[in-house]
């Protein structure tokens, strides 16, 4: 579904991604792990075209999308949920969902406001509320819901558990597993190993802009030296 090969990216002169290679198969949940500043968010932005890659390839559903405009990539069925959430604070919940709406995609049951409210019931109770007057957890749900309205085949989820209360984290994990059941592929960036274990099939460990380790989560739990070297703070 998604293949990233030797991806490079710069901010100004700083060489941030130094050849990231990873892939995700249809229906898989892949966790991108790494410390603060490892380059997780930058990887996602480079896949999405928000940061222009300076080398390497991104293929989505067999098509080369490297360096395409974000809106074109989004229209191919790649959804992006940013770390900072970036809710439109002036717009109501319904309007936020409306901005994300895209035409239905063959083979996927189209997302409607009713369906996303079924996934995140608390949102359904605040349809007319402006995004700026929602709690952090509610905003996190809204940002995922907004991306779902675009009927993505794959979602890039940047640290969905960050700053959430434990109860909400559990709910978030349930929602991700629900998406997986729908056949949606998920690439998720995480620092919270516990959360990653709840939902992911596979992990890629990022450090200084390159993938250093790859394997199942069970294998990662075994590999104590990998965790010590790349994940513990």
């Amino acid at each position: 579904m998604l293949e990233v090969e030797g991806l490079h990216a710069h901010y100004g002169r700083a060489h941030i991604l130094q050849g990231v290679t990873l892939s995700a198969a249809q229906g898989e949940v892949v966790a991108l792990l790494g410390r603060n500043g490892a380059g997780k968010s930058t990887t996602m932005k480079a896949i999405m075209g928000l940061v222009r890659p300076t080398g390497g390839r991104v293929r989505f559903q067999g098509q080369d999308v490297t360096g395409r405009e974000p809106f074109e990539i989004a229209r191919q069925g790649l959804g992006y949920v940013p770390e900072e959430r970036r809710i439109f604070t002036e717009l109501t919940v319904m309007e936020n969902l409306d901005v994300g709406r895209q035409p239905p995609r063959a083979g996927l049951a189209p997302w409607t406001p009713e369906r996303v409210f079924a996934l995140f019931p608390s949102l359904g109770a605040m349809r007319a509320r402006p995004g700026g007057r929602m709690s952090g957890g509610e905003q996190q749900m809204l940002t995922i819901a907004r991306t779902l309205m675009g009927n993505p085949r794959l979602i890039l989820l940047d640290e969905p558990s960050e700053g959430l209360a434990p109860v909400i984290v559990e709910r978030m994990a349930a929602a991700i597993l629900e998406l997986k059941r729908e056949g949606i592929t998920v690439l998720l960036s995480e620092q919270n190993l516990h959360f990653a274990r709840l939902v992911s099939d596979r992990a890629c460990v990022l450090e200084k802009g390159a993938i250093r380790w790859e394997g199942t989560l069970a294998a990662l739990m075994e590999a104590e030296e990998v965790r010590a070297q790349y994940l513990s703070v």
């Binding site: 100004g12 940013p82 717009l91 901005v99 994300g100 675009g150």
Partner: protein, 612 residues
């Protein structure tokens, strides 16, 4: 008395409507694209001219008039689309000042095109069919057309509200106003969105202009006259806020209507004073919000590289020519050389706050002009000799720098640019309207150098000495700890504050130094020309300074010098050789912005780096 007030109040409302039409387009465009469109006044002017052509050629009657007005608005909308697609689309990521300059280039081009098509004379349009007469309101006769205009404003506001809140397009536009990158990541084609927004904004400007047809004559000064007011309205209302623009239009409309009764002498200043006060109290306008933090990657400017040997040799050669050639030159060439020396200092002073300081100024001519007036006023009122005048120049400009700078350095980006523009307009209006003191439009004549410097060659060396000296001092300051602190504040303001630098104080001092230097240039300019006029502080002169800096390159030390040399030369040639020099100058600006965003010195440096 009461009747008088009522008529003034109603006329104020009618003007507010017209102002709102223009300002609404400007604010909508800014909200989404973050571009302050200087050319918006030109679109307004085009609307008026096109409406004149259409209405006078179409059959008389309702269809001819209203059809002509609407068609003019739509054609202007298409012109707006052309501007967006051909120009703005390429510079959305450029710094604000580039965008302002590019749209100013469009202003120049449209001015000359309109002159070519419609000629220099004022054009009078027909009155609106069905709204020719007057009606009686509380015993006062009031023109029907004005009454009609009073209603147009609120109706347009209502329609725009519906458009933005009840359509999917409007929802997307509001979302893009908050975070356009995110909207793109959700699959919305921002380009198309921006183009449609520009179409709407341009239509509104065109409609505003077309509706003026029965009210006033159509002329070539309409563009800058309205854009200055529209900026004021939009900034007071809060950039990007429609209801804010409406409120501010009402405020300014009323202030101008009653201002004429109460302070006929300072009507021009009044609007800018209000704007300055609002920006000081509410930096983002009445209903505006602080801009959402930019999510785009910010690139930190590299430090200044040491000049290459070739470059250094070129610099020394320039200085040698400046020192040794003049004794062999005639008077005319000496005048040009003197002017170039002055412009180098003027450009260097602006560069000082723009380059290392990272602050935008769209009103640097204020300090140049105040320097000139500081000297000239002493000559006029106390017959002071040149030596005193040249001392007074930097003092006057520096004083203005202390006051204006204190406000301006608190803001950043377009808001700072707008505030500096407002202060420059205040200085300009004072010089223009305070006739007793400044002679108004006639300026101050007879500002001649002392006897020993009256010879053109002597005056040239005096100017060269002062300008070169001040320019070198500014360069020293950039390389001194003060300059490092200034650049640190520009690149990472939070970190600079965290290690105990007082960013505000540093920027303020830089602003004052720049004003002082510009004042020296202005004083020298006054004695070189022998006269002083309000145009020394007008928008075009501020643009001259910006062009010199940008032509040279903001992030190079030699930029302002290269820029001043190149610009003064280009300007001179264009004005001498071509009648349509504005058109060409506009084209030069566009080429510069599109193809040499690093300026000439920057481009040369790049080329040298590549070869190395």
């Amino acid at each position: 008395m009461f009747e008088n007030l009522l008529v003034q109040g109603l006329s104020g409302l009618a003007s507010a409507s017209s102002l709102f039409l223009v300002a609404s387009g400007l604010t909508v465009i800014f909200g989404v694209t973050r571009i302050v469109n200087f050319a918006h006044g030109s679109l307004y002017m085009l609307g008026a001219y096109l409406a004149w052509t259409l209405v006078t050629n179409l059959p008389r009657g309702h269809f001819g008039f209203w059809g002509g007005v609407l068609a003019a608005a739509l054609i202007v909308g298409v012109v707006g689309v052309l501007i967006e697609v051909l120009l703005l689309r390429r510079i959305y990521k450029a710094p604000e000042l580039f965008q302002l300059l590019a749209t100013f280039g469009v202003v120049l081009i449209v001015q000359d095109l309109a002159l070519m098509i419609w000629g220099p004379q004022d054009l009078l349009g027909p009155r609106a069919p069905g709204l020719r007469g007057a009606t009686e309101i509380l015993g006062v006769r009031f023109p029907l057309y004005e009454l009609f205009l009073i209603f147009v404003g609120p109706v347009v506001l209502g329609l725009l509200w519906l458009l933005f809140h009840r359509t999917r397009w409007g929802t997307r536009v509001r979302a893009a106003t908050a975070d356009r990158e995110m909207v793109g990541a959700l699959g919305v084609n921002q380009r198309l969105l921006f183009t449609t927004v520009f179409f709407l904004g341009a239509c509104l400007a065109g409609l505003g202009g077309a509706l003026q047809l029965p009210r006033e004559s159509v002329n070539l000064q309409m563009d800058l006259a309205i854009i200055a007011e529209a900026f004021v309205v939009v900034v007071i209302g809060g950039l990007g806020s429609l209801p804010g623009a409406f409120l501010a239009a009402l405020l300014i409309g009323q202030m101008q209507a009653f201002g004429i009764l109460i302070f006929p002498k300072i009507t021009l200043v009044l609007a800018f004073l209000v704007m300055a006060v609002v920006l000081i109290l509410r930096p983002y306008g009445l209903l505006g919000r602080p801009p959402a933090s930019a999510h785009a990657a910010q690139v930190v400017e590299p430090p200044y590289p040491p000049p290459s040997p070739a470059f250094r040799a070129l610099g020394l050669a320039t200085v040698a020519v400046a020192l040794l050639l003049p004794p062999f030159l005639g008077d005319f060439a000496l005048i040009v050389f003197t002017e170039i020396a002055i412009m180098v200092l003027f450009a260097a002073s602006l560069h000082f706050i723009m380059g290392p300081g990272g602050m935008a100024s769209f009103g640097h001519a204020a300090y140049f002009g105040l320097g000139a007036y500081g000297a000239a006023l002493l000559v006029k009122h106390v017959a002071a000799p040149m030596e005193i005048g040249l001392l007074a120049a930097p003092f006057a400009a520096g004083l203005a720098g202390v006051v204006f700078g204190w406000f301006c350095v608190r803001l950043s980006g377009v808001y700072a640019a707008m505030l500096t523009l407002a202060f420059a307009q205040i200085a300009w209006s004072a010089a223009f309207q305070w006739v007793e003191l400044t002679g108004g439009d006639n300026g101050i004549l007879g500002v001649w150098p002392s006897d020993w410097a009256r010879n053109k060659l002597a005056y040239y060396y005096l100017a060269l000495l002062l300008c070169l000296g001040a320019t070198l001092l500014l360069r020293r300051a950039i390389m001194a700890p003060f300059g490092y602190a200034l650049r640190a504040g520009r690149d990472s303001p939070l970190r600079a504050e965290a290690i105990g630098m007082d960013g505000f104080r540093i920027r303020w001092v830089a602003f004052i130094l720049a004003a002082v230097a510009a004042g020296i240039a202005g004083g020298l300019f006054a004695y070189a020309k022998g006269s002083v006029f309000p145009t020394y502080m007008a928008i075009p002169r501020s643009v001259d300074a910006l062009l010199m800096v940008l032509l040279g390159g903001v992030q190079t030390l030699s930029g302002p010098i290269v820029g001043a040399l190149a610009y003064t030369w280009i300007h001179e040639q264009l004005m001498r050789l071509f009648e349509l020099w504005r058109l060409l100058l506009g084209a030069v600006i566009l080429l510069l912005v599109l193809f040499f965003p690093q300026g000439l010195a920057g481009a040369a440096q790049r080329a040298a780096e590549k070869r190395a």
